[in-house]
Symmetry: C2
Subunit: 344 residues, 2 copies
Amino acid sequence: MSDVARAAGVSTATVSRVVNGHYGVSASTTAQVRSAIERLGYESSLVATSLRRSRTNVLGLVTHSFQSYTAEVLKGVMQALRRSGFDLIIYANSDLYGTYSEGWEQRHLTRLSGTLTDGCIVVTPWGDVQSRTPVVAIDPARDSTMPSVTADNLAGATTAVEHLLGLGHRRIGFIAGRSSLAAAWSREEGYRRALAGAGVPIEPGLIGRGDFNPESAAPLARELLKRPDPPTAIFAASDGMALEVLEVAKDLGLTVPGDLSVIGFDNIPESELTEPGLTTVDQSMYQLGYEAARMLKSLVTGDWEGPRQILLPTSLVVRGSTAPPRTHRTRHPHLAAQISGHTR
Amino acid sequence: MSDVARAAGVSTATVSRVVNGHYGVSASTTAQVRSAIERLGYESSLVATSLRRSRTNVLGLVTHSFQSYTAEVLKGVMQALRRSGFDLIIYANSDLYGTYSEGWEQRHLTRLSGTLTDGCIVVTPWGDVQSRTPVVAIDPARDSTMPSVTADNLAGATTAVEHLLGLGHRRIGFIAGRSSLAAAWSREEGYRRALAGAGVPIEPGLIGRGDFNPESAAPLARELLKRPDPPTAIFAASDGMALEVLEVAKDLGLTVPGDLSVIGFDNIPESELTEPGLTTVDQSMYQLGYEAARMLKSLVTGDWEGPRQILLPTSLVVRGSTAPPRTHRTRHPHLAAQISGHTR
DNA sequence: CTGAAAGCGCTTACAG
DNA sequence: CTGAAAGCGCTTACAG
């Protein structure tokens, strides 16, 4: 900027005024400054500007990792921000220390919201987070009180298990997610409620404790399926884990859905591509991103009127991985047919 | 930081030394500062730090839009950065003015690279770009001389057209991409070379001028297919456009691949899901991101040894949308069978 | 071992 | 209408 000022023969204060379109600069001075800017290819430093100003028109998004889930969310966020005047900065850490990651949301957030961003979205935080500027959580931690948008995991999981019950399953295994996350808790609760609603007793031996990591599911599935009285169906709390269950079943020589029904949660793109396709519960990750960005924008400009915690509906997507259990099959063969009615 | 300094009864200089682990601070002072930091939940401001320091350990990525393509690229970038000590900042503008976007790469880059980032990746720039810090382009503009990584579009396109020629097609239409982009030029060149290699004359009337936008392809496809002597196959320079060709064919009552073969380029996830599946050329967007990040890291640390322009191989993915033309079909019926041997 | 001071690139009252 | 000066939150020679 000082280069521009020198070239135009004015002070940096004047250059700043021209750049920001403030009133009170003569036409001739403006023209000179403009031409110097043009000539030098000057562009104001985001960093310096944001350090000095209170409002930056930049929104932040912090995320721990970058998976299919995050990518979908981002598409929604960008759509909501189109022509809004807000740019987006996404901060992703490179997971330097592994175990050190506890508290990543708060750390990244503080670093950004110091001055860079007017507000932030935080994706799947492990706990609530403090900030001077507005923050919206996507898929918040359990018992979170911060503004958030989340899928109706409870209803979704209930529907999933009711689907299995409706097919005639009574021994239904469950592979849970990381228990500190609200989504994991709700999905397990849905499992319990659906069983209770059907008068089926909960068997602790049929519940495996995963953590949403696909790898965590394989040994649990193996254990479930090697029981003397194995389940006829398994509900995994995420598609990633459900896909692993499919693998294990294949290893064990079990056919899906003949010997075992499998149902997941999320409806990630991959779940459509397996053979058979994975029956699952769709939570629109795009919608999560879209709504979160919409809320954040309004929170920043101060005109948010809706509820501060948004719950988005989920829907069951029936593909080929679920069917009536073996013993029922001869009685209802037509129910075993692959049904596929899902379009995005 | 001044809060911390006050709480610990030291100067901000000392706090800074503790935060950055510099030598020359007594153990007792360090402990006091640490405890104050802990108590106050202090985290240094990314902005202020980067304004003062030369090295930030943050890499930038600037992109115009955020589509499936970008998402795949990002996964590769993040993988390459894992545990590298570099964090990633992605800057995406909200396309405030639409037409104003000319020069977006340079603008965003300058704003970031002022002080925030140690280097940047720029995705599909429309032209070359200047920066004091290293920059790597993914899918650079035509005649670009900057460091870059790009797919072997020429070989890929040649293979695509040779595939059609091998099936017996001689009248092959082409729908081109935005001509200023190197990828568009190479794909068209591949088309020309393959035809020339087979001794098939180029018919200008069979070439439609699209711009990579899916919408641009529909009218062009319609025009091609309504000719008195329509092509028996169409090669579209991107999957997005090829998918549109599929739509138009359906509208016109043409079956694919019976009446018309269609082949695309990119292998976006959607191309696997259509009926029939789209035969296409796979360019690994993940690899593009991975290699670009790897190069940028080394460029920043100054230990890059390889070539500064990387060309990544492409591969043909044969699905159901290509088959011999009608007249040949009765003679080689087995060639029309759907072949699918692609795994990522 | 520690602090006072300068400065990174900007913006914004405050004078003139 | 324009400039000198202070200050945003840090880091880093330079003294002591």
